[in-house]
């Protein structure tokens, strides 16, 4: 089962996701990117039904871009979170998206923020969040070690502790994780944590 977790630090937010694409007992690939860059200063880590995840995060990404084209200014993280919740809530009683989302963003006036959005469209602004079986370990580790004013180095140390805990204690532990960070300089990939390297894709 997919693990996604995130936390807010002093002036940044981090989202971490595992990178296995699994169908029943088969692992299709181990370097799947589940954290979408919505715009220059937003990250959306998603877990759940594979098709819904890919389609829904892309849908939100394109709508965020559309807003910026139409209005000339980017959406705030809070507005993006509420838009996402609205889309999930509207679809809920017709054709629900089975996607759990952790939305991280950096706004100049507000600083870093993190939003927990359930697949049934429950929205809450939080300092730390996690989904999946890995959440049992991630939330406990964060309850113990997390502080609101962590530096990037301290946060990555905590992330590594969490990944190590998931790898050692979860029976179907995902081998590889992807870490992305968002701060005043923008949203970007921070690092991979790989214990299995996928074979490189041959040229077509």
């Amino acid at each position: 089962m997919e693990s996604v977790f995130g936390l807010v630090g002093k002036d940044f937010a981090i989202v971490v996701a595992d990178s296995s694409a699994v169908h029943s007992i088969l692992v299709h690939k181990t370097n799947e990117d589940k954290i979408m860059l919505l715009d220059s200063h937003k990250l959306m880590g998603a877990s759940g039904e594979t098709g819904d995840r890919a389609q829904f995060t892309e849908y939100v990404q394109k709508n965020v871009a559309l807003y910026q084209f139409r209005n000339g200014i980017p959406l705030t993280t809070a507005a993006t979170a509420n838009f996402t919740r609205g889309e999930l809530a509207t679809a809920l009683r017709k054709n629900p998206y089975m996607v759990n989302i952790i939305l991280a963003g950096y706004d100049k006036d507000v600083g870093p923020s993190l939003y927990f959005i359930d697949y049934i469209a429950s929205l809450h602004k939080v300092d730390k969040a996690a989904f999946g079986y890995g959440s049992y370990f991630a939330l406990s580790m964060m309850d113990r070690h997390y502080r609101r004013d962590m530096t990037v180095e301290e946060a990555i140390e905590l992330v590594d502790k969490i990944i190590s805990e998931i790898r050692s204690r979860l029976v179907v532990a995902p081998p590889n994780f992807l870490i992305k960070i968002v701060d005043k300089d923008g949203a970007r990939q921070y690092a991979w944590r790989e214990s299995i390297k996928d074979a490189p894709v041959a040229a077509a």
Binding site: R85, A89, L92, R93, K94, P96, F116, D118, I120, A121, S122, L123, H124, V126, A129, S135, Y136, L139
Partner: protein, 228 residues
Amino acid sequence: MRRKALAFDHFLHLNVGKCSNFGSGVIFEYNGSALVAMVGKNCFAIASDRRLGVQLQTIATDFQKIYRIHHTLFIGLAGLATDTQTLYQRLVFRHKLYHLREERDMKPETFASLVSAVLYEKRFGPYFCQPVIAGLGDDDKPFICTMDSIGAKELAKDFVVAGTASESLYGACESMFKPDMEAEELFETISQALISSVDRDCLSGWGGHVYLVTPTEVTERILKGRMD
């Protein structure tokens, strides 16, 4: 022909092993909540717990369940968190429109009828919420009421309760309540009733949130209880 999967079908597995008396009540226990409103002498108090959970896991301990409609009207929403958020947005929208047209705030009795109508609209696909409404009506007379998820109003002169801890809350309120309490005594009473009730319910707790409303001021207080 296989029927299309409906939104809450995956909750069906939760009914396995559960007492048949619960029926589909399990969906009201998905997030966990405790709400209570009490009437005092020319004042009222409305209180909630602060937990947001997903079944056994606690997600947050600062989740807002009481919303302000206008300066003397509050609505607490218990039940499924996503529906409480949707319902709150719809009600605030309706009240803002009312305010623009009527150039005044809604009376609590009117608002209660509005909530009832909005809930009954979804009679055959309801919002899984139980609202608790509290406000000061004409002549600053306190008004409280609750309703079920399809809008059956229940007016009360003393107290109303809602949420996963409602049974404990009924007992605690019945024994602690006295009519015509002043603001400070009302605050003490509602706080004790809330804390003692949520301590017996694993799905609600992590502190309390109390609003005390008199004709002249609104006081908001956070309670510290057992943080589990």
